[in-house]
């Protein structure tokens, strides 16, 4: 009964929505709007080659601030959801896995790890020139740490360091934005107040590159934090408060 109702409803929804979507055919260039402006202003005014980056960091930079906040919120919320009093486990180190990974994995991880981090850093440093940026770079760095976390039982991330990175990177974003209120031409939040440079130069785009680097650090730190929290949960057993 439930199945019939659900599938029927889903069918109705998909039918209506699909019929709405196919009204404008795939690949047709009929939307006139803000995108023309972005495609023109990004290389001309901001000197940022990657238009997506200029949208993400500048035109719609406020969204990105929100987005970084969402990740930060998720990692904090995760901490509060899976929080357990450390005092109960003090003395013995919480362990992530019961078995060590094989030597091959460990060695491989050790070799790959620095490269992953460098790749991530490269991606967010070149965020305004090539595809990718802070999110992608940060995620890749986090992947590197993930590799280490799952291969080594005793690889612990310094929470202090994570906290500092998160705090400094996040506040850099906001403070750079607030600087815009003082130094920039229109006195707007997140407005570029540095020289724009030349298109396709590494040092172009003013604060866009700096913000994306901050985003990269923050995203990397937060995702690493999330993974660490989730991984540490294992083996700590049932919380006495639970039942």
């Amino acid at each position: 009964m439930k199945k019939v109702v659900v599938i029927g409803s889903l069918g109705v929804i998909v039918y209506y929505l699909l019929s709405a979507f196919v009204a404008i055919p795939f690949g047709a260039d009929i939307i006139k709007g803000v995108k023309e402006f972005y495609l023109q202003k990004s290389p001309d005014d901001l000197k940022v080659a990657n238009v997506v980056t200029s949208i993400v960091v500048n035109f719609r930079g406020f969204d990105t601030l929100g987005e970084v906040t969402v990740l930060f919120l998720a990692s904090t919320a995760l901490g509060s959801i899976l929080y357990h009093r450390r005092s109960q486990h003090s003395g013995l180190n919480p362990q992530r896995t019961s078995v060590e990974a094989s030597a091959i994995v460990q060695t491989g991880a050790k070799i790959i790890f620095p490269f992953t981090v460098i790749l991530g850093a490269y991606i967010f440093i070149h965020g305004h020139l090539t595809p990718g940026g802070g999110f992608q770079g940060g995620a890749i760095i986090a992947t590197g740490f993930l590799l280490m976390l799952i291969s080594y039982r005793k690889f612990f991330i310094k929470h202090n360091a994570l906290t500092w990175i998160e705090a400094i990177a996040g506040s850099t974003f906001v403070i750079l934005g607030l600087f815009g209120l003082i130094y920039a031409k229109n006195h707007d939040f997140l407005e570029n107040f540095l020289p724009a440079g030349k298109l396709n130069d590494l040092l172009s785009g003013g604060i866009i590159g700096i913000i994306y680097i901050a985003v990269g650090f923050k995203v990397g730190a937060e995702i690493t934090g999330i993974l660490d929290t989730l991984l540490t949960v294992k083996e700590t057993g049932l919380d006495p408060e639970e039942n």
Binding site: V52, P131, G132, F135, A139, L227, L230, K234
Partner: protein
């Protein structure tokens, strides 16, 4: 779109559907998680074909690697198999 791209697109679409079925219907959750990972992988390819390299990179980093790993951690912390 060139013809090769179109063919690749269609193959990807078919793969997406198959992987989607696997993800939803598999009783073994690890398999289902791997299937979602495959969805992300194919999706990443699709994004590249649709001239969205930024999104492709994001999907690759987050969808393929990170999402999958947090799913696997969760499955290890709970039960591997779906109940009947």
């Amino acid at each position: 779109m060139t013809n090769i791209e179109i063919i690749l697109t269609i193959v990807s679409l078919v793969l997406l559907i198959i992987a989607g079925f696997f993800a939803v219907l598999k009783k073994d959750l690890i398999h289902a998680v791997v299937a979602t990972s495959v969805i992300s992988l194919v999706l990443s390819l699709m994004f590249y074909l649709l001239q969205a390299p930024d999104v492709a990179l994001t999907e690759a980093a987050i969808g393929i690697a990170l999402s999958t790993i947090i799913f696997i951690i969760t499955v290890r912390n709970t039960k591997r198999f779906e109940d009947k």
